[in-house]
């Protein structure tokens, strides 16, 4: 909700919109376009962008509600949002079940019977469904929403903690993150032996860091001073990481090209949000915050508009993106996976995300519009009567 005193920071919407498009692209396996997403040039990917900005905007939006209408109201608002996400997740889960059941029915190749047991859970639906409702069953690509839901559920505590002092939130969060890194703790999931793909104990730190930063800014704290100091370090870290990761990507396609520090650094852990991912991501955040000013003209341009709109309707567009990537992959697997077809699936998916965001935006704008005439007419009625 934009307010006249603090105009909405379009950078948040724009980059969240970008991350949603990238998540859609990366979620189609063997997609040629994924050579051009963040994961090809950086140690992190769009998931970090999404979670960080989500923490940041949550602090802005609910921080304002906390100030205006109190803790109870803000908490109720956060939990309502979490509930919406939960319902969306269950909806996506049902679609996943439909896809797996279909695959299991038409599948008749004995060579995969023993091992490709992704359909095992269909043999115990009474357990599988309960595990899904408890967010413990996280099939392929349905793993980021449970993290987001959990983050929102604990967010009221984060919000109230930040109100006292931001360190009260950031320090425990960092300690939990470090414990996970040192002792390699993961959170069990369903079926037996699975873990939460996005380990919430590790990824919470990114969400909290975003929230703390958002909170500091709403408190009117300027970060320009410290940012100018760290800027050269961030630029160096990011460029070094960029060079290394690009060399890996080229090495993957063309072996004679050397992959720099491949032996030393690979694999970079995503489940526990490896410090390499975290540090290089923060470096990018610093660079973007410095290089892209809040008033940057392109943010208001017609070209940026669809991405900004996607970012503003992030819940709907995120779910739609997951749905479209599953559908797109299904089409590629069932019919044709040639490059032209891949590009068509990407283009169609992105166009649908843009259009849907535009439609929701239009709908919400109509919803917000005051309706003066009927009220005036009613008053007139009364007078006449």
């Amino acid at each position: 909700m934009p307010e006249p005193s603090t105009p909405r920071d379009l950078r948040l919407d724009f980059f969240r919109g970008v991350s949603l498009i990238l998540i859609f692209i990366d979620h189609i396996p063997e997609n040629i376009l994924s050579y051009f997403t963040l994961q090809a040039v950086a140690f992190f990917d769009a998931a970090e962008v999404f979670i960080f900005i989500s923490g940041f905007t949550a602090a802005l939006v609910y921080g304002r509600r906390l100030a205006d209408k109190g803790a109870l109201y803000a908490t109720a608002q956060v939990l309502r949002r979490a509930w919406q996400l939960y319902v969306a997740h269950i909806f996506l889960f049902v679609l996943f079940i439909a896809e797996v059941s279909y695959t299991a029915t038409v599948f008749n190749n004995p060579m995969y019977n023993e091992e490709m047991r992704v359909t095992d859970f269909l043999e115990e639906p009474h357990i599988a469904v309960i595990k899904a409702l408890l967010l413990e069953f996280q099939p392929n690509f349905l793993d980021i929403l449970p993290l987001y839901i959990l983050m929102l559920v604990i967010f009221p505590a984060i919000l109230l903690g930040m109100q006292r002092h931001w360190l009260l939130v950031l320090v425990p969060s960092a300690i939990v993150y470090l414990i996970v890194q040192i002792f390699d703790i993961s959170v069990p999931a369903y079926p037996e032996g699975h873990v939460w793909y996005f380990n919430p104990l590790a990824w919470q730190f990114l969400f909290v860091a975003g929230a703390v930063l958002g909170n500091r800014l709403t408190q009117g704290k300027s970060l320009a001073g410290p940012m100018r100091l760290v800027y050269p370090v961030a630029a160096t870290v990011f460029l070094a990481a960029f060079t290394v990761k690009v060399s890996w990507t080229i090495h993957g396609v063309w072996e004679p090209f050397p992959g720099l520090f491949l032996k030393e650094l690979w694999p970079v852990n995503k489940n526990n949000l490896s410090p390499i991912r975290l540090v290089t991501f923060f470096a990018l955040v610093l660079l973007v915050a410095t290089l892209v000013p809040r008033q940057a003209r392109f943010l208001g341009s017609a070209a940026a508009r669809p991405l900004v709109q996607c970012g503003q309707q992030s819940l709907e567009i995120f779910c739609l993106g997951i749905l479209l990537s599953a559908l797109g992959h299904f089409i590629l697997a069932e019919y044709d996976s040639a490059t032209v077809m891949q590009l068509a699936v990407n283009a169609a998916g992105i166009a649908m995300m843009f259009l849907t965001a535009k439609m929701i935006d239009w709908y919400k704008a109509l919803d917000r519009m005051p309706v003066p005439q009927p009220a005036a007419a009613r008053r007139g009625d009364k007078v006449a009567r």
């Binding site: 396996p29 063997e30 040629i32 050579y35 896809e99 797996v100 695959t103 038409v106 599948f107 008749n108 190749n109 004995p110 060579m111 995969y112 019977n113 023993e114 091992e115 490709m116 047991r117 992704v118 359909t119 099939p139 392929n140 690509f141 993961s186 079926p191 032996g193 699975h194 873990v195 793909y197 990507t249 090495h251 993957g252 396609v253 063309w254 072996e255 491949l262 032996k263 690979w266 694999p267 852990n269 995503k270 489940n271 599953a326 992959h329 299904f330 697997a333 069932e334 040639a338 490059t339």
Partner: protein
């Protein structure tokens, strides 16, 4: 990363231009595009044995597709087909391939039985088929890569050559299992250790795209026969790759 799939697409296109009908007509030929049979690393210990015409013991360790129950008896599984194909290449050398396939094991579980199942047989070459169960179970990539590394180290420390074999391909399972990052991990581990990775996934994808083996249009009792044909092709092409690596 997806180099092989790109090559394969090119290969498939080329094969379509040059041989429009042969692949359909002669499935038993197990043709694959030549890029998929490129081998840039050597198998020095095996080469030495073969050169000296001393008996060769190979252990094939892996999961259900190594055990090969889908085709029926063990002599139809790919390890035995590999033995038959190698015997044809090297008639003067006694060659035996042991099948140590155990269904539904993670790579870590396979490494744990290396001492009893692999090392105990005193092989000169280990063919290690890994990754399917890890992808199905969603094992963390770090753990998968670490398990592969542990197995490779065990073999290398004992002067045993090793060949990795990646997943089976199926058009339909790819919508519900994400093999991509596990395939990338296998390729990268092979690359870092200079170990040959036999691209079973891309070969089977090629056969699927060329309609060489199509399970969709086959009656139920025919399917085991078709599975045996696929295993036979895997064994033969693997033998071809091994021959290239010892030349």
């Amino acid at each position: 990363m997806r180099r092989r799939s790109l090559l394969c697409l090119a290969g498939a296109a080329a094969a379509n231009l040059v041989l429009p009908t042969t692949s359909r007509a002669e499935p038993a030929a197990c043709e694959v595009p030549p890029e998929l049979l490129e081998v840039s690393v050597k198998l020095p210990h095996l080469a030495e044995r073969l050169g000296a015409r001393q008996p060769v013991t190979i252990v094939a360790v892996g999961g259900a597709s190594t055990k090969g129950a889908a085709a029926g008896p063990p002599d139809l599984a790919y390890p035995h087909r590999l033995q038959v194909a190698l015997a044809a290449y090297y008639p003067a050398v006694p060659i035996v391939v042991f099948n140590k396939g155990v269904p539904r094991q993670s790579t870590q579980q396979m490494v744990e039985r290396f001492p009893t199942d692999v090392i105990a047989e005193d092989p000169i070459l280990v063919v290690w088929e890994a990754g399917i169960s890890d992808a199905v179970r969603g094992i963390e990539i770090d753990d998968f890569a670490a398990a592969l590394q542990a197995g490779i180290d065990q073999a290398k420390n004992r002067a045993i050559d090793i060949v990795l074999v990646d997943m089976q391909f199926s058009r339909r399972t790819s919508t519900v299992i994400n093999f991509e990052q596990y395939l990338n991990a296998l390729r990268r581990v092979g690359d870092l250790n200079e170990v040959y990775l036999f691209p079973r996934f891309e070969m089977m994808r090629y056969w699927s795209e060329q309609n060489v083996f199509n399970f969709d249009e086959v009656a139920e009792d025919e399917r085991a026969r078709l599975a045996a044909k696929v295993y036979d092709c895997i064994g033969r092409t693997l033998a071809q790759a091994i021959r290239t690596a010892v030349e």
